[in-house]
Symmetry: C2
Subunit: 766 residues, 2 copies
């Protein structure tokens, strides 16, 4: 690790205007790139630098706490513990740092650079940034993610390669403009294959090249049909039987073989999905408009990347690899103050393994975050199409391969949604009803990984607050921990604030199926025939959410633990004469190896992240529970080779104590990764204690996708996700203080029937 | 069975204006009640009649087909097969019939009556109804559901019973206005208990009384706190230790014992949930309004109970027992015409078993549909509170106990919802994106069962249609069934219509937890301490959806079957050298005993309802698949007594061939039910063939509820459900023809940044 000391805190001259967790600005990226380039030893080195990733180096948690306490609104000095003689407040924050992954195209070396960024204020012309080289190191034997520019160059090189043109000609294609060469995510297995005695000599050569650390791509080939469609769906014609291996460093084809003449599938008349006549169809005209109007604006407030909504607050971050990051999630709980829930939430990896053992499908098991980048491939969103209602968008900035700054405008979407009824009860004696509507705040982005689209959504549910004139004088009796030293205790009895809030993570899957060609008359056991000559192999989509939790932990506190809950059937016997009894049993997950767990819907299994020292009004430890949604495990055989580098797929839950360099479950550079002793499954072998620590949850969830005809040409959104729900975190229900909505009596229904106040009440009947 | 012959078709004089599936109107209910009462043998019999249920007797499916073909718009003569010399069209439909469940309060007898209803048109004063007695029969040894009026009378009787007042006084309560006596759903286990040697003599007496067929109730007691709250939450103070048994026929207390002095729990300051100061709190004021505006009206059309929306059509029905019923679900598929999906969808039962073996909780396992009635307890809904957007409401009519007509206005809600993105793809080469928004149609009702609320929702997803100039000339080669006789074959090649549509069933659970009292210092293994002295036992909620399917079946056709799909891991070996292979395996469920199945997320298990004779363009049989959501099985011991009458909970899926008298999985009269050889688990013992039949699916789904502090005093909505998705029903994707939405360029985001057309496209970078 290259982090240098934090002595910078003493040498800074001016306060910064960027919060320590704000993503790098376009200006900062420019300065970071320029600083690294200037530090190149020779002109050759400087020219050969390619910029794979430039990202904020997130500071230690205490720097964030310092910033939130004293430097950024809503200034929360209570965050930091008091020391003798009052708090020690530094006059400055340490400077921000950028971390760069640089690929040297001449030397084929990957290096990691750290640059310090200072904001310099000149009286005459505003502020600018200045970069300072801090450190650099070469990382041997890795290949960083490919860049879209390399994809484009690779496509051009292959299309120019005469034997390739010859092979395409044999398949009836002379117009190279129709050909698509997709180098994404198909090489990662290669090295692991070397263990297999059944491999051909050709593949052994590939393995040897990789062992030499070459930057290689083995693309998938598709071929568009000639048509006027503005977005002709080329994925409808996979080209098979051609083996191409490209040296991406030198951009040359190093292996080529036309192994088997597989004819192109016929042009499927249903392949396109653009509007109306451009696809050869007619759009429906009977969908009436539906608008969401927030005449008084949204209920959220945004200041830079800081978001406040209904007592929730958090910061929005973004990285090229993960896309959206949610930092510093906390609840402002009246006189209990700011109660943290999580330090950092993001999706750190996804893997899509295919079930067909035939080439090229067995190679498809891309690590879409680590090999390509979810954030780098994010969309610029459009109001009314991608999102409805009052939208606040955030832009995202990246470097491109040659070091220029790219901006995706409107990349992250923040908006509110009505989410149906929140709660209701109608008294059957009186017919009186209380009902409240649910509002949620949604933060999301959508990205393309080659053919597929993934939308990542974090939904925050209505924060609410109920003030009570409380009379719980017997509370202490019920509190089994009341003799312990309990901090963060209750507010004065006659003015308590209680709140609630659920956080839901949701992934939406859409886009275009990855297809294979079928020979005439052929059917495949491993997928669905989708159209004449076209076949969609069965596959799975796995996602890894990394959640650095902080349930009721102030900065510097590491007081969390995780309990697994299972419902158990009670033994028959004297205390269970009717055989009806069951109960929830908790088991503390004491160490990492004990905390590799799988879902079990039959026991209602879930996991509670507890604060070890804070209790609610019944004396139970405060907590948030992770409630799984539908889930699965990999269906590949347990000896499947891709599971060596994707060992983290073998369980649905992993828990680790926080370590700042444990970010990506497949390791930082999973691309062409020959190192199996890396990543989450390796870290947990330390079997560190989890009894009281800064808990990081890794929730792995997946869906098995057996393609349907109805998934073609564009798959309707499928959804998968999970929830974080307060569990004894608050003393009472969510949303008792959400005000009732006014009934829209002015909008009559089509019968014009007016509503009567009390109906179907027993009292009204008697 | 009492259905008489259909010769009525010949004797009818006039066409009816009600569709054969329309629920009974208020006028029809009145006439039905009057007809039955007039048929009573003596004045005593007539006076003693109590009307538990008056409901449309749904006609045979061919009558419905006749009505839809020739009598009601949108007249669909294609529904009925042509016969030699053209179709035989009757001039009239048979008259509608009502079915009445009558309880004789003098004789304690339950009887079922059938009445024929004719509409009589008099020139001078419009139409009226005339009833004709058809049949009646006594059903021995059953007790029909209790009525709300009986609940109220029972409460009054108990409160007037001096020993009860004495017992309450010992608990500190003298004001009987505070006391709540809830007789719901707690007696049903009793008979089964007689097998248990550990029971006390008192309970044996109860059993004997029940064996004598008595109508009994053993209420739960609660006691409100004195307060000004308009909806004081009485469920916050359960009264325990008092045994009361009420003879509901004669309305007298027949057993009473103050068994154990359990003190009332202290008044919980957080027990109430009304708005603002009435609960002793303050409501939040920072939720800004969010309105849904459909300025051009909804996209649906309603004619009576017939609904058309985006190529979907269906009829809305309603019964006191099931609540909402969806009849005749079909898709209008262009030149393929009307393609049925289901005859009838409804929720036919629900059961809520509790996990605490202590009295009274072990008795809580109410059959809320069969013992109480989901429809009878439905709410009158309010726009803006229960539902947003343009709403079409339907009223529901019932009889009350004494035979009067009750109406719940605005009982069923029909409206459209935006449901996020429907599909999206962005080409990474060009940056061009196509995105469509999802619209769904939602039909729902909400009911109260004592303390709990349940909302039942059926969501229909955007119907869509893509016209293609098709060139699939090699289709026949690919179609393995092309040599078979395939009906409903394709439309002319250059004008095909393809459509899609998913149906989602969703139950929303909310309301008030059923609590028990704790003695000071007591904790219970079987639940969660919610507040001082208050405890919420762990429990499960199970729902049974009955789905009489008709996938691509015209009237009279019984050409459906069900296949189970599981994903299997491929054996290692020569064809699976990378160990990555897996595949979906189908197994036909050939008979009823083979079709008792449970969910298995690890194999992606689901069930496809296939038409046995229709194929899609790849030659696969057309079908709809049932995709489970999260689910569980009962946690009670397998010998639990309530599972004898709730044996249908033992599996998640059951399949039967349609039989018109197989409607309720626990039998028609589960209340106090001593007959274990009844209901779904008994019917399937016939092991009827399912290879090609009129398939009825029974999907049983549940959730295990471990109460949280945050579920009190009103539980935030929890959701559970499942999907019916087209699976090769259509030839291509859902929603290719949904038009793009216009981007709201006029509404700027708070930064006022304008959008640029193409961003982050590779072409733009190069
Ligand atoms: Co997929
Ligand atoms: Co519950």
């Amino acid at each position: 690790n290259t982090t240098s000391s934090t002595k910078g805190i003493l040498t800074m001259v001016r306060a910064q205007t960027s919060h320590p967790l704000d993503p790098l600005s376009a200006a900062e990226i420019s300065v970071a790139v320029a600083t690294v380039r200037a530090a190149g030893a020779t002109p050759e080195v400087r020219d050969s630098m390619r910029f794979v990733e430039v990202v904020l180096m997130e500071p230690d948690k205490h720097v964030v706490a310092l910033a939130d306490a004293y430097f950024f609104p809503p200034f929360q000095p209570s965050l930091l513990p008091r020391t003798k003689g009052g708090p020690v407040i530094p006059t400055k924050l340490p400077p921000r740092r950028a971390r760069l992954v640089v690929y040297n195209k001449s030397s084929n070396e990957t290096s990691i650079w750290i640059v310090e960024l200072s904001e310099v204020h000149a009286a005459t012309r505003g502020g600018h940034h200045r970069g300072k080289f801090i450190s650099s190191k070469v990382v041997p034997n890795v290949q960083p993610p490919m860049d879209a520019e390399e994809y484009a160059e690779c496509e051009a090189v292959v299309k120019d390669f005469p034997p390739f043109r010859e092979a395409m000609k044999r398949r009836g294609i002379e117009d190279m403009d129709l050909v698509m060469v997709d180098p994404c995510g198909c090489l990662t297995l290669f090295l692991l294959l070397c263990a297999n005695p059944l491999l051909t000599g050709v593949q052994d050569i590939t393995v040897k090249l990789m062992l030499q650390g070459r930057r290689l791509a083995k693309p998938l080939i598709f071929c568009r049909t000639e048509s006027d469609c503005p977005m002709e769906n080329g994925y409808a014609r996979p080209v098979e039987g051609i083996h191409v291996l490209v040296d991406m460093q030198n951009m040359v084809v190093i292996e080529f073989e036309d192994r088997k003449l597989v004819h192109l599938p016929p042009a499927d008349p249903l392949r396109n999905y653009t509007a109306g006549e451009t696809r050869g169809g007619v759009d429906r005209s009977d969908v009436k408009p539906l608008q969401i109007i927030q005449s008084e604006g949204p209920s959220f407030r945004v200041n830079g990347h800081f978001v406040e909504w209904q007592k929730w607050n958090f910061r929005i971050g973004f990285t090229p690899r993960e896309g959206l990051v949610i930092h510093s999630v906390a609840y402002v709980d009246g006189s209990r103050g700011r109660r943290p829930v999580a330090h950092r939430l993001s999706f750190v990896e996804m893997v899509v393994p295919y079930g067909d053992p035939n080439d090229p499908h067995y190679r498809k098991n891309a690590f879409d975050a680590g090999e390509d980048g979810l954030g780098k491939n994010a969309h610029s969103l459009k109001k009314g199409c991608d999102c409805l209602g009052y939208i606040k968008y955030f832009d995202a900035h990246f470097t491109n391969f040659t070091g220029g700054v790219e901006t995706i405008e409107n990349c992250v979407c923040l908006h509110e949604e009505d989410h149906g009824i929140l709660w209701k009860h109608q008294d059957w004696r009186t017919g009186l009803a209380e009902v409240r509507r649910s509002r949620r705040l949604t933060v999301s982005f959508i990205c393309t990984v080659a053919n597929y689209e993934y939308g990542f959504f974090w939904h925050f549910y209505q924060a609410s607050e109920c003030t009570k004139s409380a009379e719980c004088s017997n509370e202490a009796q019920l509190n089994p921990m009341s003799s312990l030293s309990i901090r963060n205790n209750f507010a004065p009895l006659n003015s308590r604030l209680f709140q609630d809030g659920k956080i839901e993570a949701e992934v939406k899957l859409t886009g275009i199926l990855s297809l294979g060609a079928l020979q005439p008359g052929e059917v495949r056991k491993y997928g669905t025939t989708i159209a004449p000559g076209l076949y969609a192999p069965v596959h799975q989509h796995f996602f890894v959410a990394r959640m650095d939790m902080a349930v009721d932990c102030k900065p510097g506190e590491a007081f969390n633990q995780v309990a697994e809950v299972n419902v158990k059937v009670e033994e028959p016997g004297k205390n269970n004469v009717h055989n009806n009894a069951f109960y929830a049993e908790e088991e503390l997950l004491r160490s990492e190896l004990q905390a590799m767990r799988d879902c079990n819907p039959l026991t209602a299994r879930h996991w509670i992240i507890r604060n070890t020292r804070n209790v609610n009004r019944t004396g139970q430890l405060t907590g948030y529970k992770l409630v799984p949604g539908s889930n699965c495990l990999p269906l590949a055989g347990s000896e499947a080779k891709f599971l060596r580098r994707a060992a983290f797929l073998k369980h649905n839950l992993w828990v680790t104590p926080y370590a700042h360099d444990e970010m990506y479950p497949g390791g930082e550079f999973p691309n062409q990764n020959p190192r199996v002793g890396e990543g989450l499954a390796t870290w947990v072998k330390q079997n560190r204690s989890l009894e009281e620590s800064d808990i990081v949850l890794w929730y792995v969830f997946g869906v098995t996708h057996i393609p349907r005809l109805e998934d073609w040409p564009v798959m309707p959104v499928d959804r998968i996700g999970f929830m974080l729900m307060p569990h004894g975190f608050f003393n009472c229900s969510p949303a008792v203080d959400v005000p009732p909505s006014s009934s829209d009596l002015d909008i009559k229904d089509s019968n014009g029937i007016a509503e009567k106040p009390i109906q179907n009440a027993l009292l009204a009947k008697l």
